[in-house]
């Protein structure tokens, strides 16, 4: 039913894509499709293959096998396909010794923008990320949050239909994070397709229409957040204390279970833990540390 909100056009399609680095298999036969207008979350523990997948999607890495297609145009090695993609890398890919405006003009120029169109796009981007007042300041004078917003603006300056946002909220305060969420939601309303990789599961749960969970280079699950929770998160946990003592129950019918507990006696405290995407993530990828 949810799919009805999205276009049928596939903005990114990976078919059986694999990539090795020596003995290490970074991506192993990955297939997925990102539909026009959706926010697609790509989750996975460290070393799962997210960055390799993103790098292949934008053409920085070439897959060993399989195929990648952008917006029905062709592989990302084609300049026309690359023009459809904007990327905001996790590490701030902006020049510290240029002003915000100069950065945007430079990156816009790389995508063939010029003249009035470039100036308009730069003005729009600066306004969109709330940096108009500081457009002439050098980036090195910016706060972390301002740099993050400019990093996002640099991905938008050529008005791409497909955006790849790699950990866009790393190292920013709560206000900036919230501002970035709002901008991403605005972009979705404008019809942009967004691929969002993050370590913050709650961000994916808040923003993403569909989520793919990746580990060891393989796609473990891909569906809407609700469906993933229903399928992999387990049951709701109810912890209740009352005249009958402390009770902890896992249930698929929390309301019925609450009614039953209430019928047994008076409850003095109640804690209900709903299953969430983090639970899905941990259930699928395990709880052991990956980078030790």
């Amino acid at each position: 039913m949810l799919l009805a909100f999205y276009g049928e056009r596939q903005m990114l399609r990976l078919q059986n894509v694999s990539k090795r680095f020596g003995e290490i298999v970074a991506v192993d036969g990955l297939s997925l499709e990102v539909r026009e207008g959706e926010i697609f979350g790509l989750l996975g523990p460290n070393g799962a293959g997210k960055t390799t997948t993103v790098n292949m999607a934008v053409g920085i890495l070439k897959p060993d096998s399989g195929s990648i297609e952008i917006a029905g145009i062709g592989p990302p090695s084609r300049p026309e396909a690359r023009r459809k993609v904007g990327i905001a890398p996790q590490s701030l890919a902006i020049y510290q010794s240029l002003s915000a405006q100069e950065n945007l003009e430079f990156f816009g120029g790389l995508y063939g923008l010029g003249g009035k169109h470039l100036r308009e796009r730069v003005v729009w981007c600066l306004a969109f990320v709330g940096l108009n007042e500081r457009k002439n300041s050098l980036v090195k004078t910016f706060s972390g949050g301002m740099r993050r917003r400019l990093n996002l603006a640099a991905a938008l300056v050529h008005d791409p239909p497909l955006l790849l946002l790699d950990e866009p909220t790393v190292g920013v305060d709560a206000q900036s994070r919230n501002a970035i969420f709002e901008k991403i939601e605005e972009l979705r309303k404008d019809g942009k397709t967004i691929i969002y990789t993050t370590h913050y599961i709650e961000e994916a749960q808040r923003l993403c229409d569909r989520v793919g969970i990746l580990d060891h280079g393989k796609l473990l699950a891909l569906d809407t957040v609700q469906n993933l929770i229903a399928a992999y998160a387990g049951k709701t946990t109810i912890i209740a204390e009352g005249t009958e003592g402390r009770v902890e129950v896992e249930t698929t019918d929390p309301i019925g279970e609450l009614a039953r507990l209430h019928a047994r006696g008076k409850l003095t405290s109640l804690n209900i833990k709903n299953p969430d995407l983090e639970q899905v993530f941990l259930n699928l990828t395990g709880r052991h540390l990956r980078d030790v």
């Binding site: 934008v58 990327i87 890398p89 020049y95 010794s97």
Partner: protein, 426 residues
């Protein structure tokens, strides 16, 4: 092409916005050029320690050959032998300060130190080389006097010569009787002196005074206009050297900037843009080339207006600057592959560039280096860049003469650029 220009403009903006980069790229080389130019101001920096002269022996006698040998052994001059026409041409090309022609009759005149004209010598030099010519004249007089002095301290030679002179005097017909009589008296006195044992035992150094005022040679001068090749001032030498430091700074700065793009993450965004790695490298190369040419040209503009460094040929100077910039763009690309961090590439770049500069004459002029260092310097682009720039500024290179250093610079640039790109791609 737009993408390459866009990349280059961005890099140039970053370069000139970086205060330290700007200082080492323009201010430092300019400071060096002014400092060294001032330090050596007024002195001809190419002054040789031994004056190069060409000797033309037009007499071909044993006496003239002996005089030539004494000149060859003289430490004050560097003698080479040639015909008159060849000698004139070499003086004209400023390959030698002067030529010394031992005229016909030199040997015969040398045999008659007591009468007749002294041996004749001609010095051919450019009128502007007055001090050097006077010095050569003094050196000739010194060695001619020494020959006479040697003659008077060799008693057996004196006796032989006295006897020979007396015989000639007896047979000579065109000598006035009064002179004949005076000479006979002189020879008789000399014979008496030579027979005196106390004279023979005396300190010969005292006898040197007896030759004061004696004219052992007749020297005439002839003028040969040289084609000027010397620097107009010490700044004409220090500005080419200063421009080398500009080229070194630009290439090291851009080598580091390539690594900087990767470590700061901007390379990722560049690679994701609709262009290839070749565009990115070409953008860097264009920026480096532009910075190098602009900075070196700016340096020479300043040299022209503020320090009187007037190039012999603006066009050839432009060619030299362009060729040198191409060479250092290639060097920059190769240097950028020497490490993975700014620190490692920066350190390695400056280490290598300083050695290239040292052997290439970027620190001290090549002509005062030992021979082995000059030979080693042949592999340094600095040597060829200095030669090309000096060729246009004061060496008066013809376009043909400029070809060699310029082609070598372009070859160095192309070779190291390709090697750098290859290393990057692999």
């Amino acid at each position: 092409m737009n993408a390459i220009i866009n990349l280059a403009l961005k890099d140039l903006r970053l370069l000139f916005r970086d205060r330290m980069g700007f200082f080492f790229t323009l201010v430092w080389p300019l400071g060096l050029a002014i400092l060294f130019g001032t330090m050596y101001g007024g002195n001809r920096a190419d002054q040789p320690r031994a004056v190069p002269v060409i000797v033309v022996d037009e007499d071909g006698s044993a006496e003239s050959q002996a005089f030539v040998d004494s000149l060859i052994a003289a430490p004050e001059i560097e003698v080479s032998l040639a015909s008159r026409s060849e000698a004139i041409e070499r003086v004209r090309k400023a390959k030698a300060v002067a030529f010394i022609a031992l005229k016909q009759g030199f040997g015969e005149a040398s045999q008659n130190p007591f009468w007749g004209e002294p041996p004749a010598v001609e010095i051919g030099a450019d009128p502007s080389r007055g001090p050097e010519t006077a010095m050569v004249e003094g050196i000739l007089m010194k060695y001619a006097s020494r020959r006479i002095q040697d003659f008077f301290t060799d008693q057996s030679a004196q006796r032989e010569e006295l006897e020979r002179a007396r015989k000639e005097l007896r047979t000579a017909e065109n000598i006035p009787e009064r002179l004949r009589s005076n000479l006979e008296n002189l020879f008789a006195s000399l014979e008496g002196v030579l027979s005196d044992e106390s004279y023979l035992a005396s300190d010969t150094t005292e006898s040197e005074e007896g030759f004061s005022g004696f004219q052992p040679l007749t020297i005439t001068r002839s003028e040969i206009s040289i084609r000027r090749r010397g620097p107009s001032s010490a700044y004409a030498i220090s500005f080419p050297l200063g421009s080398m430091w500009a080229l070194l700074a630009v290439s090291a700065t851009f080598a580091v900037s390539i690594v900087h793009e990767r470590t700061r993450g901007t390379l990722f965004r560049l690679l994701a843009a609709p262009m290839t790695i070749y565009h990115i490298l070409a953008g860097k190369a264009l920026a480096c080339f532009t910075a190098a040419t602009v900075v070196v040209a700016g340096l020479f503009c300043l040299g022209y207006f503020a320090f009187g460094v007037v190039p012999n040929s603006i066009l050839l100077l432009a060619l030299a600057i362009v060729s040198s910039s191409i060479a250092f763009v290639g060097v920059m690309m190769l240097l950028s592959t020497l490490g993975k961090t700014e620190q490692s590439v920066g350190g390695a770049s400056w280490g290598i560039l300083i050695i290239l500069s040292m052997f290439g004459g970027g620190m001290i002029p090549l002509f005062i280096m030992p021979g082995w260092m000059r030979t080693l310097g042949t592999v340094s682009p600095i040597k060829w860049a200095i030669l090309a720039i000096e060729g246009a500024v004061w060496r008066q290179f013809s376009p043909l003469e400029m070809l060699r250093p310029c082609l070598i610079l372009i070859a160095i640039g192309a070779g190291s650029f390709l090697a750098g790109v290859h290393r990057k791609l692999t």
